[in-house]
């Protein structure tokens, strides 16, 4: 088992490397640097900026130093955060205080906001996106799973058809549609929820619902299909033949097995929701990492773009790994060696 985890982690690092290379090349291949889209700067200042951020070095050197900053830990004696260029995510003070601290993971400075580093930006905006993603996940599970269960138990009945009808409608309305619709209905007509912004629980309601509803439809269909499949199994028939009450059959035997595919889909679902926050934050004006990412794309803020993509890729790969492990733990028939 541990060999499997090790192999997966190594694979994950390789994947992240390739992702970083592709992103780096794509970003640098766009002509015009990060300082050319603002008002035209005199050549002297441009030269100075290029030198400060090492934009004149050959691409390989730039990439090498960028990756080195992230991957290689170093020991320095400087204070915690001397400048935006030297902001490290992990700082472990060493017992021999004259040697300073072990520092690791510097994602570089932000080109757009001169005094802030990418770590600063991530610290500031990521929690908001995480909250939104988590809330959407709760919405998706809380609506989807019961709907799926009810539909499966009343197969081909009226509840099944209405449930699956809602599910199909849910899958067909991405956030672009649900967003403005909710904004109009609850924000403008009924005026009970704020149309945009962030801070209070009311601000969370509409975006979380908009983002979570589409995925709740997916959860509903998955739960229904899985439960139906489990209910057809032989061991359920045995349980019923033994005389167990229907409730026992359902909740003790059927549900646990039916939930396995559902639980394993939560991992990728969460990663998908995190990327979905990009859309939601733009619509609802939420100051999260997704919206910042979009503005950094047009502003050519390379380190922020790289950092965000690496972060999201990491979340995706980690959640896939996590889900595979949970699956192996839940289903004893699957054991990776």
């Amino acid at each position: 088992m541990s060999k499997y985890i090790l192999r997966r982690l190594l694979w994950m690092t390789l994947v992240l490397f390739v992702v970083s290379i592709i992103t780096f090349v794509l970003m640098r291949a766009v002509p015009g640097g990060p300082f050319s889209s603002e008002r035209p700067l005199p050549q002297q200042i441009l030269d100075n900026l290029n030198e400060k951020y090492n934009l004149d070095d050959p691409l390989l050197v730039q990439y090498g130093s960028y990756i080195g900053d992230i991957v290689l830990p170093r020991i320095t004696t400087e204070q915690l955060r001397p400048s935006a260029v030297e902001d490290y995510l992990i700082n472990i003070p060493l017992p021999f205080s004259e040697y300073g601290a072990l520092r690791w993971m510097n994602f570089g400075p932000s080109y757009a906001s001169r005094n802030r580093s990418v770590n600063d930006i991530i610290e500031e905006h990521l929690p908001i996106s995480m909250q939104l993603g988590l809330a959407a996940l709760i919405v998706a599970i809380a609506i989807g799973v019961p709907l799926g269960i009810v539909a499966a138990l009343n197969r081909n009945g009226i509840l099944d058809y209405t449930g699956m009808g809602i599910a199909i409608i849910g899958v067909s309305i991405p956030v672009i549609i649900t967003g403005p619709l909710l904004q109009y209905f609850f924000g403008v007509t009924l005026k009970i929820l704020p149309v945009s912004g962030w801070g209070t629980f009311n601000h969370l309601l509409m975006p979380a619902f908009a983002l979570g509803f589409t995925n709740s439809a997916l959860m509903a269909r998955l739960t229904r299909a899985s439960l139906l499949q489990v209910l057809n199994e032989d061991y359920i028939r045995t349980a019923r033949a033994k005389g167990l009450s229907e409730r026992k059959v359902l909740f003790v035997h059927a549900m646990k097995n039916a939930m396995i595919p559902v639980v394993t889909v939560i991992g990728p679902l969460f990663a998908f929701l995190i990327t979905g926050t990009i859309v939601t934050e733009t619509i609802f004006g939420i100051p999260g990492l997704g919206r910042y990412f979009i503005s950094s794309i047009t502003g050519r803020d390379y380190p922020v773009i790289m950092g965000t993509i690496l972060l999201f890729a990491m979340v995706l790969v980690l959640s896939n790994l996590f889900v595979d492990l949970i699956y192996a733990w839940l289903d004893p028939r699957i054991r990776y060696n």
């Binding site: 992103t23 991405p174 403005p180 619709l181 990327t275 990009i278 859309v279 794309i297 896939n320």
Partner: protein, 348 residues
């Protein structure tokens, strides 16, 4: 008397029953089941209506999609002001809307007719819906066929490639690609490949790059599917027989592999069409999609969302159009999947 003696089945009836089942190919069986599925038929009809409207857009549209008429900006016809209670026409207390019954669904902020723009926007969404899958099938097929047929380290390498691309958050990658295309090729040096691509892009109203973007981000599923099929067919005896009599590889692939792969490919792509449509809508929403002035439902929603408190019709009508199309493709995809499921063949 036994049951058989009470209701005898004649030999003629039995053979007739068998003939009906035996003579049907998978496709005929699937078509029959598809058309029985009412929801799928509804979806198909909606899509056909949309295609018709999109093709006939130049004929039906009352106004041009790009001519601006500032004098009529933000105006709306009578029925729209009645539909949305907060849109009060001038004359009523607190009213601000200029009622103008010339525009069927109202006009946007620079005076373009929303209905005409919806019709032309349908073109964009439908072209994405049909060419997007084509792109991902092309890329996926190349990778899948090569990997499956070559086997060995080539197969391994290509599949690792697929895994890496799976790790890319799709939405971010497509945003990245589109930025690269849009910004990187905005002022190309004339005569280079970049300038050539930029010209094609302009002539298609900005859509070529969207297709390339979609093709580069969703080919993985196809590649896996096709590779799996190739692997399973490759070892079959009839393929070996075909090879032994000298059939060229190309013909083997066309006659044996392609028909087996077509079913799952169609299902997978039809079910992905709503995703492609939503990618295009979102890209246009943030301004990285089709080029202005080509209308896209996504960009219309984005422009309308800014004014949703005062002029909700500008955002909600395109949203409704988008909903119908996605919904139709979802129904059709579900129907196709149920119809083409070989396990259910002949079971009605």
């Amino acid at each position: 008397m036994t049951a058989i003696e009470k209701n005898p089945i004649t030999l003629g009836q039995v053979t007739a029953l068998n003939d009906r089942r035996k003579g049907e190919s998978l496709w005929a069986d699937a078509m029959r089941r598809l058309f029985r599925n009412k929801l799928a038929v509804v979806g198909l009809v909606i899509i056909l209506i949309n295609i018709g409207l999109a093709i006939l857009a130049p004929v039906i549209a009352p106004y041009s999609f790009k001519e601006q008429n500032r004098a009529a900006a933000n105006s709306a016809p009578q029925w729209v002001t009645q539909l949305f209670p907060n849109m009060k026409p001038i004359g009523v207390e607190g009213g601000y809307i200029r009622v103008n019954n010339d525009y069927v669904m109202g006009a946007d902020a620079v005076g373009r007719d929303i209905f005409s723009r919806l019709l032309y926007g349908a073109r964009v969404s439908l072209v994405v819906a049909f060419i997007g899958p084509l792109m991902s099938i092309i890329v996926g097929m190349i990778v899948g066929l090569v990997a499956g047929y070559a086997g060995g380290w080539v197969d391994n390498l290509l599949m690792r490639f697929v895994d890496i691309f799976y790790a890319f958050p799709t939405l971010l990658f497509i945003i990245l690609l589109m930025t690269f295309f849009r910004l990187g090729l905005s002022d190309p040096v004339p005569g280079t490949f970049g300038a050539f691509m930029a010209d094609i892009d302009d002539s298609t109203g900005g859509m070529i790059f969207i297709f390339i973007g979609i093709g580069l981000t969703s080919w993985m599923q196809m590649a896996r599917l096709i590779r799996g099929q190739v692997l399973s067919i490759r070892e079959k005896e009839y393929v070996e027989a075909a090879r032994s009599i000298g059939t060229p590889t190309r013909k083997i692939m066309l006659s044996h592999i392609l028909p087996n792969v077509l079913g799952p490919v169609i299902i997978a792509e039809t079910l992905s069409i709503p995703t492609y449509i939503s990618y295009e809508a979102f890209l246009s929403f943030i301004g990285l999609g089709v080029k202005v002035p080509t209308p896209s439902w996504g960009s219309m929603i984005s422009e309308g969302a800014e004014r949703i408190s005062s002029y909700p019709n500008q955002a909600l009508f395109p949203a409704l159009a988008l909903f119908f199309v996605m919904f139709a493709f979802n129904f059709l995809g579900d129907g196709l999947r149920d119809a083409l499921d070989p396990r259910m063949r002949g079971a009605d």
